[in-house]
Subunit: 341 residues, 2 copies
C-alpha cells in the first residue's frame, strides 16, 4: 500500500478527532463561527491551541478556489510615495488572516496585466491596484474577479469596484494657482517619468496658468527618465539655461523639488526670492530642508488604510455608502514659496 509523506504538522483531522467532531465542523468553527454552537466552538478552539494547529493555506485555497491573499500591485518599489501606502496595507492586514502578495508593474500596463492574470489565477481574497489606467483586458479581468478590487492613489468616475485617492489634476492646479498667488510670473513645470498621474498633474497645472494668463509652453520641461533628486537639479539647470527669466517651478514630485533647490543653491539663485519651488506629496524631508520646501500634501498612509477597510467591509457583506473615496490633498506652504513681494 503506497504511503504519501505529508508535511508532518497537525491537520484539521487531528483537531477534529481531539475535539470529537467532524472536520467540516472544525473548518466552520474557524471560518464561520456563528454556524457552530458555543459548546463545540470552545472544544474546538481548545484542541487547536493544544495541537498548535495552523490551517494549510494551499489546501484551503484548492478546496475553496479562494485564498487568503490580498494582491497588491504598484508601479515602483523604490518610490517613497508607494512605500507609505504599502506600510499601511501591511499594518492593516498583518493582524488578520490575510497575507499580502506584492507585485511590481514597473509603470508598464502590460506587465500589470500579466501580474493581474497571475494573481487572479491564485484566487485572491481581494486586489489593490495603483491608478486608473489599466488595459481593457486588465479591467475586464478585475471586473470578473468576484472579489473586492480597490484602485488606489487616484480617483476617477469609472471605478472597477472601489477607489481611494485624490485628484492629481486638481493637485496640479492648486500648485499652479499657489505660485501665481505668491506673485511669480514666469512659472515652469519639471516632470520625470511622466506616467499618467504625472500627466494629470501637468494638465491641472496648465489649466491654472491658462486661467491666470501665465501659461507658457516653453517653460514645461519633462522627461521619461525615472525621477531622482539629481534629475531635479539637472532639469532646472536646463530650463534656466533656456529661459533665464524663469522665476518659479512646480515639480512633479518632491525628489525633483529637492533637486531643484540644490540646483538653485549651486547656481547662487535665492529661493524663494528669485525662484519659487513647490513639490508634490509632501515627503518628510520637505519640512527639514533649508529653506523648507512647499508641497502638495497627500495622505498616502490613509489611502492604504482606507483601501483595506473598504475591502474588509465588502468581504463582510456590507454595502459601502460610497465606492469612490476622495481623500483630497492640502497645500503645505513653506519657505520656498514665501517670498516677500
Amino acid at each position: 500500500m503506497r504511503k504519501r509523506k505529508g508535511a508532518g504538522r497537525p491537520t484539521i483531522a487531528d483537531v477534529a478527532e481531539k475535539a470529537g467532531v467532524s472536520t467540516i465542523t472544525v473548518s466552520r468553527a474557524l471560518r464561520d463561527p456563528s454556524k457552530v454552537s458555543d459548546h463545540l466552538r470552545r472544544k474546538i478552539n481548545n484542541a487547536v491551541r493544544k495541537l498548535n494547529y495552523v490551517p494549510h493555506s494551499h489546501a484551503s485555497a484548492l478546496a475553496s478556489t479562494r485564498s487568503n491573499i490580498v494582491g497588491v500591485i504598484v508601479p515602483s518599489l523604490t518610490n517613497n510615495v508607494f512605500a507609505d501606502t504599502l506600510r499601511a496595507i501591511y499594518d492593516e492586514l498583518d493582524q488578520g488572516p490575510f497575507q499580502v502578495q506584492l507585485g511590481n508593474s514597473r509603470y508598464v500596463a502590460k506587465d500589470e496585466e500579466r501580474l493581474v492574470r497571475t494573481f487572479l489565477g491564485q484566487g485572491p481574497s481581494a486586489m489593490i491596484i495603483a491608478g486608473t489606467d489599466q488595459t481593457d483586458a486588465t479591467r475586464e479581468l478585475l471586473q470578473n474577479a468576484e472579489c473586492p478590487v480597490v484602485q488606489i492613489m487616484e480617483v476617477g468616475d469609472d471605478p472597477i469596484d472601489m477607489m481611494v485617492g485624490f485628484s492629481h489634476f486638481e493637485g496640479g492646479k492648486a500648485a499652479g494657482t499657489h505660485l501665481m498667488q505668491k506673485g511669480y510670473k514666469r512659472i515652469g513645470f519639471l516632470g520625470a517619468r511622466m506616467d499618467p498621474r504625472s500627466h494629470r498633474r501637468l494638465e491641472g497645472f496648465k489649466d491654472a496658468l491658462r486661467i491666470g494668463g501665465r501659461y507658457d509652453p516653453d517653460l514645461i520641461m519633462t522627461t521619461t527618465v525615472s525621477s531622482s533628486v539629481s534629475l531635479g537639479a539637472e532639469l532646472i539647470g536646463q530650463l534656466r539655461a533656456r529661459r533665464s527669466d524663469l522665476d518659479a517651478v512646480f515639480c512633479n514630485n518632491d525628489d525633483l523639488a529637492l533637486g531643484a533647490l540644490f540646483g538653485c543653491q549651486k547656481a547662487g539663485i535665492s529661493v524663494p526670492d528669485d525662484m519659487g519651488i513647490i513639490g508634490f506629496n509632501d515627503l518628510e524631508m520637505m519640512a527639514a530642508s533649508h529653506p523648507s520646501l512647499t508641497s502638495i500634501r497627500t495622505d498616502r498612509y490613509a489611502i492604504g488604510k482606507r483601501a483595506v477597510e473598504m475591502i474588509k467591509a465588502e468581504l463582510d457583506g456590507e454595502v459601502p455608502e460610497q465606492k469612490i473615496l476622495d481623500l483630497g490633498f492640502e497645500l503645505q506652504q513653506r519657505e520656498s514659496t514665501s517670498r516677500q513681494k
Copy 2:
C-alpha cells in the same frame, strides 16, 4: 451525485488528454523536462499553448508540500535601503516560476519569528531574511527548513545557510578613519533607531576613533526613534548645543546626514569647513545636495541580485564555492568632508 465546481480553467488533465499522455508526464514535462522524451515534450508544450494552461500553484504546493514562493522578510518597507534590494529581488525573480512573498518585521525579532513560521508553513522554495540577529527559534526554524536561506545586508561567520552583505563594523570604522584623515578632531556620531546593524556601525566608528586617539563618548548621540531627515537636523542641533566644539559627524544613514546638513545651514555653519558630515549607504541624493555629501557606499541592488543567484544555484543542486559573500563597501568622498586644512 454531488458535483464540485472547479475554478473553470483548463487543468493538467485537459493537457494530458490533448497530448495523449498521462497527467504525471505533463507534470514532468513542465517541472523536469529531462525525464520526458523530445517527441512527447513537444506534443505537451503544444497542448499547453493551445489550452493556455497555467499550473495551479495551490494544488502543486499541496501535492508536493513545496510552493513556488520565495519568502522575503525585511524590517522596513519605507527605508530606501531595502527598497533597492527588493527591486533587485523582484527583477531577478519576475521572469521565472517564482513569486515573492514579502513580510515586514518592523525591526521586531518576535514579529520576524512569527513571519518565518507563517511563511515556512507554506512550504516556500527559499527564504531571504535581513540581518544576522534572529531569535534562536527563528534560526532553528530556518536551519530545518530544507530550502535555501540567504541572510542579506550583513556578513558574519555563522550563517544559517548563505549570506550576502558587508561588514557594518568595518563600514563605521572607515567613516571614522576618513573624518580623522581629513583633519577633523572632535568627531561625533548621530544614530537613529539603533537596530543591530546601527550598533555595529557605531562600534566600528568608536574603534577607529580610539585607535586615532579621538574617541569622546560625549559626542555620541543616538535615539531609538526611527530615522528621518528632520531627525538628523534635530540631533545635530542637540549635539552642538551640548558641545559647540563639535567639528564633524558620522551619521548612521544618509537621511540623518542630509538632515544634519540642513541643520548646519540653518545655523549658519559652514560645511565642510566648520563641520564635516559623512553618511552611510550613498543614496542617490547624496551626490545632488549642495554641498554634496560624503557617504559609505553600499551596493544594495547587487545584494538582492546575488542573493537570488545563490538561491537559484542551490535549488539547481550546485555546491557554492562560498556560502558567505562579502560585497564590501566604498568610501564615496564628496564636498562635505573636503575641507582645505
